[in-house]
Symmetry: C2
């Protein structure tokens, strides 16, 4: 079914049908009513590909992320999709994993779809390889990175200030008398590296410690269990320790369990802080004090920026949202 079929049955030309569909004026009332009736009769929907071709605008946004099963990314995708839908955009979502080649291919795929912009979800896209791919394949197409930034004219970045956020966490622990915090990390990502920086800077600034201890979990091992094991090991290896900041709530959740199983009193003996302010922080017992990195706002801001850019407005390329601490029983 095409506009020609409708036109024929209505006894008008295709242009008239097109005008009715697009609610343009300059159509006789009789004809308009007639055509509208047929449109409804057949539940006609114009072919978006054809329309995109002639209008040079697909109204599709590409969303690229490593893995949508990460609740973080799923939330990001959700808020973007909801926001963009309001403006008539639909989203093609691609899970690229972490390999550079897969990411490059995904970027090319999205370009071949002639998406009007691409959202990269996660700080791991803040990389030289991605930068190169954007330059080589995207030809100036708007790109926005959630929690990352690449210095190119067509790239926008919205970041959460996790570095200062983690520094605040250290200061919070300090006010509670904690002088021997440890940071447990998993994954060498720009975001995590900033967290570590915030951790170290705050401790130096407080003159608490010159070499703040950071523990890197083995990324090959199962996530929850490796955090659990590392936490228990830490209790033996570093008996002075009085607090732990985990790179994510999920890791902290495992840590809490390990501490409880070891008979450690939380937060009196060891305080715990996570990052993301996620469900895991909320449903843990005791509840986990968590650095809220403003995921929802981040996503919505990305979408809004995107819409503005697509509407031709001028927008700052780089933007930062302040994260804050949500205190629960673990501190």
């Amino acid at each position: 079914m095409t506009i020609y079929d409708i036109a024929q049955e209505a006894g008008v030309s295709a242009s008239t049908v097109s005008r009715v569909i697009n609610k343009k004026k300059g159509v006789n009332k009789q004809n308009r009513i007639l055509v509208e009736a047929l449109l409804k009769k057949y539940n006609f929907e114009p072919n978006a590909s054809a329309r995109g071709l002639v209008q040079q605008s697909t109204k599709i946004i590409g969303i690229l992320m490593s893995d949508i099963r990460t609740s973080h990314h799923a939330e990001g995708a959700y808020f973007m999709e909801q926001e963009l839908k309001k403006y008539g955009y639909n989203c093609i979502i691609i899970n690229s994993g972490f390999s550079d080649s897969a990411r490059e291919e995904s970027i090319r795929t999205l370009f071949s779809r002639r998406v009007e912009a691409i959202v990269l979800v996660g700080s791991t896209f803040q990389s030289e390889n991605t930068k190169r791919a954007i330059q080589e394949y995207l030809n100036g197409l708007p790109v926005i990175i959630e929690n990352g930034y690449i210095n190119l004219p067509n790239v926008y970045g919205v970041l959460a200030d996790e570095q200062n956020g983690i520094s605040d966490c250290v200061r919070l622990l300090h006010t509670k008398g904690k002088r021997h915090p440890v940071f447990i990390n998993r994954g060498d990502t720009p975001s995590n590296n900033l967290k570590i920086l915030g951790f170290q800077n705050a401790l130096k600034e407080l003159s608490v410690c010159e070499n703040p201890p950071v523990l890197w979990l083995d990324i090959e091992k199962e996530e929850w269990q490796s955090s659990y094991d590392a936490t228990q090991k830490l209790l033996k290896d570093f008996p002075d320790m009085d607090s732990i900041i985990y790179a994510t709530d999920f890791l902290a959740h495992a840590g809490i369990q390990a501490l409880k199983d070891a008979g450690v009193c939380i937060p009196d003996q060891v305080a715990v802080i996570g990052v993301d302010n996620s469900t895991y922080a909320r449903i843990s017992s005791p509840g986990i004090t968590s650095l809220d990195n403003k995921l929802e706002q981040l996503s919505i801001t990305c979408a809004d920026i995107l819409v503005k850019v697509l509407q031709g407005e001028k927008v700052a390329n780089k933007m930062m949202l302040f994260s804050d601490i949500v205190e629960r029983e673990s501190t």
Copy 2:
């Protein structure tokens, strides 16, 4: 940049460029090499809309779900996307929520995109309204429902046998000497109703009880907390109770916490079973015995069926996967 630009620079016609792009034979080696070089030089990607238009095939699949933030749905989307990508399909994902009108609109949107098939994720799409929308708007387009079924020639359904699965859970509890199970449910969905049926049937069959107690949580209230509260209330209202089956692991996770906080010994005093075999079951302490409803297989099967249908193969419209119980410490 179009194939004409490439053609001009190569001194050949657009057809030749098209042939090279599509790796068709019948092109002089010299020309082929020349064109390939230019394609690479400009990182040319053919416009998928234009291609879709002439080939009458967009290579896009629509995925519709209520909310991708539900880990279930995110996983489903992930596996589908990964599987379909292998066959050159990309996915447009729409979060429709639960309202009929939003779902209807989403279905129309996907149709206007001329997706080649639609995946409906979740049993809530097994409804009269969805059926009507499919008939009215989709014009015979293949539809596949994950964990649901609608009796139409173009609709396929892959279901998890949660009903018998829950019956098995009841039997498992029975072998452990549990005679007074309660089912805690949240949400009046086809899937949940089958779980309840399985619960009741098994209890009648075991002649344990004529009116198996089912507790419905208030869907307006916050999910985790409402399950927590209901569980604690249950301990008072129904002191005989010796086991609880929750409609999902997430609810069970809250229940476990409530039981622990009430000083109840798990599983000796009260055994607990959840559904989904999700992360929540795994990270709970004690670990939650859970009915594995085969989400991953369900998703992959959906994708496979879809691919077969699109390739013109004949496939059974309705299919069921067997769920099984993953035992952990809570039973």
